[in-house]
């Protein structure tokens, strides 16, 4: 029983991870408080719904396409809106990105209506797989796989590629990086698109767990921000650790103490913020 709750927790944690890691990257590496992250996630969800339900694109290609489209779509936003607020204070950034979120909700309501939408799963993902002596939904197993793959790919590209080295250099000292001939503006556009693409992936994956309405843009922002804060800004390993701690703790709390779970989810957050204000793996 404990093992199955653990697995459920990991599956939930992977959704949290995919939803949060993009935000951790844009916030940590670029120093911009992007509260519109949920809006990009929602866009990914709706795009996946349109691609799969209306255009009959198969599930996995539809996910990839939704991610790519949102990443591309985010570029003009970054160039025209976000570039203007990089140097500004936090309040400006919060105001602009919350404004964007509210606008995105209105647009989604206009296009898709305020009601919930669903997404059809292919047969292979609609079954169950045996693990720990129990049957587990294969879709949850798929989510765990996607989360692990995203983690590995991100870790590799940030730690082991030239592009990753350039991004880290630009984050540590932008002026110095530019002096060394790195086009930091283009780098930031790229990083932002990556963050938004990851958000879209999280949004598309979440449709079949918690559903999708225009309120999605704002509904899960708190828990995603909690994951980013606990993990430490801009660290991929930290985000993963935080997602696992919060995801497993949340699911276990909901199972064992459903009455108190609304508060219990904030216990790890409080503890980490007290002991390590910069997050589990944040730079001190």
């Amino acid at each position: 029983m404990a093992l199955s709750i653990f697995f459920d927790g990991i599956a939930y944690a992977m959704i949290l991870f995919v939803l949060a890691v993009g935000l951790s990257i844009t916030m940590g590496l670029m120093g911009v408080i992007n509260l519109a992250h949920g809006a990009f996630a929602m866009a990914g969800g709706y795009l996946a719904v349109v691609l799969i339900n209306r255009l009959a694109v198969p599930f996995v290609p539809a996910l990839l396409l939704a991610v790519a489209l949102v990443a591309v779509l985010s570029v003009p936003f970054e160039r025209m809106l976000y570039a203007a607020i990089y140097g500004r204070g936090e309040l400006d950034q919060v105001l602009m990105t919350i404004g964007l979120t509210l606008m995105s909700m209105a647009v989604a309501t206009y296009l898709f209506g305020p009601g919930p939408v669903t997404l059809k799963l292919p047969g292979a993902l609609d079954g169950t797989v045996p693990a720990f002596g129990r049957e587990f939904p294969s879709y949850r197993a798929f989510i765990v796989g996607v989360g692990a793959a995203v983690f590995a790919a991100l870790w590799f590209s940030f730690e082991r590629t030239v592009l990753g080295a350039k991004i880290r250099a630009a984050v540590d000292n932008r002026a110095m990086a530019e002096a060394a001939g790195i086009n930091t503006a283009r780098l930031f556009t790229l990083t932002f698109a990556l963050g938004c693409g990851l958000a879209a992936l999280g949004g598309a994956l979440a449709v079949n767990v918690v559903g999708l309405t225009p309120r999605f843009a704002i509904q899960y922002l708190v828990v995603v921000l909690a994951v980013v804060a606990v993990g430490g800004l801009g660290t991929i390993g930290g985000t993963m650790a935080a997602a696992l701690v919060i995801g497993v703790a949340d699911v276990a709390a909901r199972y064992f103490f459903p009455g108190a779970s609304a508060f219990l989810i904030y216990a790890p957050l409080l503890l980490v913020m007290l002991l390590r204000p910069r997050g589990l793996l944040g730079k001190v």
């Binding site: 029983m1 199955s4 709750i5 459920d8 599956a11 939930y12 309501t109 209506g113 305020p114 009601g115 919930p116 939408v117 669903t118 169950t128 049957e135 939904p137 879709y139 949850r140 079949n208 767990v209 918690v210 559903g211 999708l212 309405t213 309120r215 509904q219 899960y220 699911v251 276990a252 909901r254 199972y255 459903p258 009455g259 779970s261 609304a262």
Partner: protein, 411 residues
Amino acid sequence: MNANSKRSINLLCGMAAFLLCAPLLAQPLTVKVGVVLPFSGPGGDTVEREEQAMRLYMKLHGKELGGTRIELIKRDSKEPSGATTRELVRELIFRDNVDILLAGQFSPDAIAAAPVVTQAKKLLILVNAQASFITNLSPYIVRVSAASWQIAYPMGRYAIEKPGCKKTVVGYIDYAPGRDVLAAFKSGYEKAGGTLADAIPMGGPTGVPDFTPYLRRIRDQSPDCMYIFTPGGPFTLALARTYHELRMAETGVKFLGTGDATQDSILAQYGEQALGWMSGGQYTADLDTPENKKFVAAWQAEYGKDSVPDYFTVHGYDAMAAVFHVVKTLNGKIDADKAVAALKGWKHNSPRGPIWIDPATRDVVQNIYVQKVVKMNGRYGIEVLDTIPAVRDPCKELAIGQCATAASKTK
């Protein structure tokens, strides 16, 4: 003064006289009905359909009013705290001079509006709000929708008597309406001789949770039945999805819920995953009565073949029927005391079956249908298993908690 300007003065005088007399000449009386609902709030699609249902009733029955005309004045209360509703109700009464108010999607809306309509002496017809004690807050409030006790209490008794739920676990979304449903179901269940094995709060109403841990907790206790309450819409879809993922149907635990679990308007989206679900509710679009068949046909002719009305829709429809009854009885001259008197004991043949307003509580009395999700003619629909006839609000009958204290206050 030349002749020309003299003529224009005459003309002006004539026009002024005409304008003064116009209201007297124009025979048709206009009854202003203020509609205050959260059109842009969460669940705005549901609310929009309530208003569409009101307009449909007006279209189908408009001729019955003779010379009187009904003018709907629509206001968006946006959020569920009640604060916006109170302001809008005030504004409609004192600035727009409405005669009747249709409001109260959420219980806080109705609770906030109650003192305003009491002071201003205006009839307020509750369109949805389901907290039982609301009608005790003002003598001018009449409910045509339903009270949560009316739905959950009889199901508590039914669960033991018919499907034989000896061991039952309740899961509910943890906010006032959810706790109401829990208390009512528990009360009915205990009255029939049972004891609830467990009651699981499944998170708050602001975000749809991952239902996995809750369903696992139910499953691991291997009860005979579960009784589930969520606010419907996205909650129901996510619940059905996770229920299917965890193969809950194969465990043999019977699923019972409030009508929100078998919401006709979105059933096509999740019927496959919810096959066999049972619910107790006041309406289903598949109700086999001539009155309902006529209503559904008229609805689909107006709003499209794919649009299916649900119980919210019927609340809106019946709220307008109540307005029509008042307008007809009072010949268009609306006085709140007389209007309430006209509605007390009002009997109506609604799409949901016969309903009437209990004169003692100003609350609707209606059938509760035990419904089951089935596949019929290639689509997912509802089969009515049983009818629990003419259910009064048990909360007031049994004088429970606020239902009793609030009642004694108004007396």
